[in-house]
C-alpha cells in the first residue's frame, strides 16, 4: 500500500526545501493570495486559449453522509480535509487544446510561418508527445469545442507537463480531494446545486439527456464557483490511485492536508464527476469512479498503448494550477509528474 498520508508537518518541511531550492522555470511565480484572480491562458504560437478560475483555500468534509441517497461505501467515512488555494479550468480540457500537444500543431504552425521557437517553446518541445492514434479518438462525437477523451491518466499528466513548459505556469491534474472540494464549492448536498435529481438537466450531461455522446463544454449552468460540466459530460482524471477504503485512513477530528493516494500500478486510478454515459447517481459530488483494464480492452496491440484508453469514451480531464508551485522535491515525492508504472511500459512508435 503506497498511499501517502501527508501531515502538515511534512508539508512544512517540504516548504522549507522549496525556499532554498526553487524550481528554475517557475521561480518567478508569486504565490500570494492576492493573485487569486480569474485569468485567460493563451497557448503561445496558437490561437487557442482557456480560462482558469480561482478556488480559494479552505476546509471541507470529504465524502458523503451515510444517509445520502445512492451513496456507496467508498465515499466514507466523511472526514475533514484542508485544501490550499489553486486555480482550476473553467471547462474540461478540449480537443482544441489537447490536439496541439498530441499532433504537434504548434510546431507545424511554427514551421509553416517560419518562426523561431521561444525559450518556452523549446522547453515544451522537449516534453514527450503521444504516438498517433490508430483511429479517430473523437469517435464521431465532435472535435472543436468538445472535451478531449480516451487518454490514459499518464497521457493527461504528460499533457500537463507540456502545458507547464509551454506557458511557464505550473499545471497538473487535481488530487481527488481538490477535485471534490472544487466541485462542492462550499455545498454539502448530493450535487453542487442541491439534492434533487430533477434539476440535473440544467447542470449536467448524463445518460438520460446526452443522446449517448459527449457535448460541447460550457453549455450547462456552472457550479457556485463557476465550473462548468463538473458533473457529467466527461468524467475527469484525478492524480490518485483508487482505494475503496482510503478515507478510513484519516483522522476525523483534524483535517488531512493534501491527501493523495499515490499510484503504483496502471489500474485503478480515480476519475470523478460522472459522464454522459452514466446515470445520475454517478454524477454526485462524492461519487468515485476508477479505471480498469476494460477501459483499454479493444486496443488490438501488445503491449497496449500507454497513451490511449481506447474504450474510455467517457473520460477526460481538467487542469489545476496550485497557487504555491511545488518544488522539484515535492513533485518527485508526491509523484505529481507522469511516471509510468512498471506494468505499463511505453513502446515508442507503436504500429497499428
Amino acid at each position: 500500500m503506497l498511499s501517502l498520508r501527508t501531515s502538515r508537518f511534512v508539508l512544512q518541511v517540504l516548504a522549507c526545501v522549496a525556499a532554498v531550492a526553487p524550481m528554475a522555470a517557475f521561480a518567478a511565480e508569486p504565490g500570494k493570495a492576492a493573485d487569486m484572480q480569474p485569468y485567460v491562458e493563451m497557448i503561445s504560437g496558437t490561437d487557442v486559449k482557456f480560462e482558469m478560475l480561482p478556488i480559494p483555500g479552505g476546509e471541507f468534509l470529504m465524502g458523503s453522509p451515510p444517509a445520502e441517497a445512492d451513496r456507496k461505501d467508498d465515499e466514507g467515512p466523511q472526514h475533514p480535509v484542508k485544501v490550499d488555494p489553486f486555480w482550476m479550468g473553467k471547462h474540461e480540457v478540449t480537443w482544441n487544446e489537447y490536439d496541439i500537444w498530441s499532433f504537434n500543431l504548434d510546431i507545424k504552425r511554427r514551421e509553416l510561418e517560419k518562426k523561431q521557437p521561444t525559450d518556452l517553446d523549446k522547453g515544451a518541445d522537449a516534453v514527450t508527445r503521444p504516438t498517433k492514434p490508430y483511429t479517430d479518438m473523437t469517435f464521431g462525437m465532435g472535435q472543436r469545442g468538445f472535451p478531449a477523451i480516451c487518454m490514459t491518466q499518464h497521457a493527461a499528466k504528460k499533457y500537463c507537463e507540456w502545458l507547464s513548459a509551454k506557458t511557464g505556469h505550473y499545471y497538473r491534474l487535481p488530487t481527488e480531494a481538490e477535485w471534490e472540494y472544487a466541485c462542492r464549492a462550499g455545498t454539502t448536498t448530493k450535487y453542487s446545486f442541491g439534492d434533487d435529481d430533477a434539476d440535473l438537466d440544467d447542470y449536467a450531461w448524463h445518460y438520460g439527456n446526452s443522446n449517448e455522446k459527449y457535448q460541447k463544454v460550457g453549455l450547462k449552468k456552472p457550479n457556485p464557483w463557476g465550473l462548468h460540466d463538473i458533473h457529467g459530460n466527461v468524467a475527469e482524471w484525478c492524480l490518485d490511485k483508487y482505494e475503496a477504503d482510503f478515507y478510513s485512513k484519516f483522522p476525523l477530528d483534524k483535517p488531512a492536508v493534501f491527501p493523495l493516494c499515490i499510484p503504483n500500478t496502471e489500474y485503478p486510478r480515480v476519475a470523478r464527476g460522472g459522464s454522459w454515459d452514466d446515470d445520475p447517481p454517478a454524477l454526485r459530488s462524492a461519487a468515485r469512479n476508477y479505471s480498469t483494464d476494460e477501459w483499454k480492452q479493444q486496443d488490438p496491440q501488445i503491449p497496449k498503448s500507454v497513451w490511449y484508453m481506447t474504450d474510455a469514451l467517457q473520460v477526460g480531464f481538467r487542469v489545476v494550477r496550485p497557487l504555491k508551485t511545488p518544488t522539484v522535491e515535492e513533485r518527485k515525492t508526491l509523484q505529481l509528474d507522469a511516471i509510468l508504472p512498471s506494468d505499463a511500459r511505453e513502446k515508442a512508435n507503436r504500429d497499428q
Binding site: F103, L105, K132, P133, Y134, A244, R288, Q297, D311
Partner: protein, 437 residues
C-alpha cells in the same frame, strides 16, 4: 469489496457480454481428430511479431480452451525473441499457454516456413501485408488453419494468389479467418441484418470514411539505415509494396463494410489523391489522402474518403442512404420507417473473431473468410490504382493486372522494388502519368 462493479452502462454491457461468450464456447464439443498431436490443444504459430501480431496471438490464447502458442517467426531477430515474453505479460494467468522455446523462435525472410513446418495447427499471419499472399499460400499447402490480418495483399497478383490458395483451403476444409473484425462485432451484425431485411429500402448510396491523424512515424531514419531493404521493412507503412498505401491498410475496413451492406463488390471507380501534409522524405512514397467514387453494377455509388492529416474533420465510419431512410452503420443507428438503435452487448470484436475461428476449428464447421478478405482488399487496391493514375479503373481490368509490386529477391542486401534518390526521396505517384495496370 467492490462498491460499483459496473462503472457505467457501457462497462456493464461489455462485462456481461464477455461472460456470455465464454459460456458459449464451453458448450462446443471437441473433435480431437483435428489435431495432429492427438491432444486437444490447438497449437498456434505466429508469423510477424509486431504489435498487432502479438496482440492477435494474445487474443487467440485468451479464450480458446487449450490453445498454445508453440512457435514465433519474424524477419527481425529481436522482434521474434521479444514476442513470447510480451504475450505472456499480456495474458497474465494464461501465460503457461505460451510454450515457445528458443528452438521454435525463428527469424529471417524464411522464418515463416520454419514456423509453418514446426508442427502447428494454426498460423497467425501478421507481417506487413505485402508478404501475406506468399505466407498464406505456403500455410495452405502445408495444411494449416489460418488467421490472417487485413489487408491480404497489396497488388492484383497477390490477390489472385490468395484466391487460388483459398480454393485449396476450402478443398482441404481448412479454416480461414481474416482480421476484418467488424464481421464479428455484434452491433454491425445486428444493423446490417436489418438493412438486409429492408429497414431503409433499396440502398442508393454509401459513404465510408477513415479520416484520422495518421499512424506511427518511421522508426529508422534515412541516415541510420543499414540496408535499403531493412529500412523500408522497418518503416513498412510508407511503402506501397509493403502496405498497399493507407487506403488499403486501414480504409479497407470501411470499404469492406460498404461491400458487405451491398452484398457485392464494385465494378469500377475513379478518384483523386495526393500528398499534402506528409511531404517529408521519411514518409516514403504513399499518399496522405484519397477520395474515391466506387460504382456497383446497379449504378449505386460508394463515396470513400481516407485522410491522414491531423486537426481536420475526422471520422472513421460507414453510412448508407436508402429509398426509405438512412443508416449510420458504424453508429448502429437506423432512421427509416421507424428509428432503431442497437443498444445491446458489444463484446470486443478482436477477441470474438478468434473465438469464432477456434470454435469452428474445434467443431469442424465450415469457416472461410478468405474470398471476402481478398475481394475487399481488391476493392481498396482498385481505389488506390484510381488515385495514383487519375484514370477510371474497371474491376475486371484491375483483377487481371500482371504488375507485381513485390521484390524479385528477398534478402537484406537485395534491392527493394522502389528506390530513393541520393537525398533519400522516393518517387511519388503522379496522376495522369503513373501506370497502375
Amino acid at each position: 469489496m467492490d462498491p460499483h462493479p459496473s462503472t457505467s452502462r457501457r462497462d456493464f454491457l461489455k462485462t456481461s457480454s464477455v461472460a456470455a461468450v465464454g459460456a458459449g464456447l464451453a458448450q462446443i464439443s471437441l473433435q480431437s481428430s483435428v489435431y495432429a498431436s492427438g491432444d486437444d490443444s490447438v497449437k498456434i504459430g505466429l508469423i510477424g511479431a509486431g504489435g498487432r501480431g502479438t496482440g492477435a496471438a494474445s487474443q487467440a490464447l485468451s479464450v480458446a480452451p487449450n490453445a498454445k502458442l508453440t512457435a514465433v517467426g519474424d524477419i527481425f531477430e529481436n522482434a521474434a525473441q521479444a514476442a513470447a515474453s510480451n504475450i505472456k505479460g499480456a495474458i497474465g494467468d494464461k501465460a503457461s499457454r505460451v510454450t515457445v522455446t528458443p528452438e521454435t523462435t525463428f527469424s529471417g525472410f524464411d522464418a515463416y516456413k520454419k514456423v509453418i513446418e514446426s508442427g502447428v495447427d494454426l498460423v497467425i499471419l501478421a507481417t506487413p501485408p505485402g508478404f501475406r499472399p506468399i505466407h498464406f499460400e505456403y500455410a495452405v499447402n502445408a495444411g494449416k488453419h489460418v488467421f490472417m490480418e487485413k489487408p491480404v495483399a497489396v497488388d492484383s497478383v497477390g490477390v489472385r494468389m490468395v484466391l487460388a490458395a483459398n480454393e485449396i483451403a476450402k478443398q482441404k476444409k481448412l479454416k480461414v479467418g481474416v482480421g476484418l473484425q467488424r464481421h464479428h462485432q455484434v452491433g454491425y451484425l445486428e444493423t446490417i441484418q436489418r438493412l438486409k431485411d429492408g429497414a431503409i429500402g433499396d440502398i442508393l448510396a454509401l459513404r465510408v470514411y477513415w479520416n484520422g491523424g495518421g499512424v506511427w512515424d518511421p522508426r529508422v531514419s534515412w541516415e541510420k539505415k543499414t540496408s535499403e531493404m531493412e529500412y523500408q521493412i522497418k518503416n513498412w507503412y510508407y511503402y506501397n509494396w509493403l502496405s498497399g498505401d493507407h487506403i488499403n491498410e486501414q480504409h479497407i475496413h470501411n470499404l469492406d463494410v460498404g461491400c458487405w451492406v451491398k452484398g457485392k463488390y464494385p465494378v469500377k471507380c475513379n478518384g483523386m489523391g495526393g500528398r499534402q501534409f506528409r511531404t517529408d522524405k521519411k514518409y516514403g512514397e504513399i499518399f496522405d489522402h484519397h477520395y474515391v467514387e466506387y460504382e456497383f453494377d446497379d449504378g449505386t455509388i460508394m463515396y470513400s474518403q481516407c485522410r491522414h492529416i491531423p486537426n481536420c474533420w475526422n471520422s472513421v465510419s460507414e453510412h448508407a442512404h436508402g429509398s426509405k431512410g438512412t443508416v449510420d452503420i458504424s453508429g448502429y443507428k437506423i432512421d427509416g420507417a421507424e428509428k432503431w438503435r442497437y443498444r445491446g452487448p458489444n463484446p470486443n470484436p478482436y477477441q470474438v473473431e478468434h473465438d469464432d475461428l477456434h470454435a469452428a476449428i474445434r467443431s469442424g464447421a465450415e469457416y472461410n473468410e478468405g474470398d471476402n478478405g481478398a475481394y475487399s482488399t481488391m476493392t481498396a487496391i482498385m481505389g488506390r490504382d484510381a488515385t495514383y493514375s487519375g484514370q477510371v479503373i474497371n474491376w475486371d481490368d484491375a483483377m487481371k493486372s500482371e504488375i507485381s509490386l513485390m521484390p524479385k529477391v528477398f534478402s537484406f542486401d537485395a534491392d527493394p522494388p522502389v528506390k530513393a534518390d541520393a537525398e533519400g526521396r522516393y518517387p511519388v505517384p503522379m496522376p495522369g502519368q503513373t501506370k497502375v495496370l
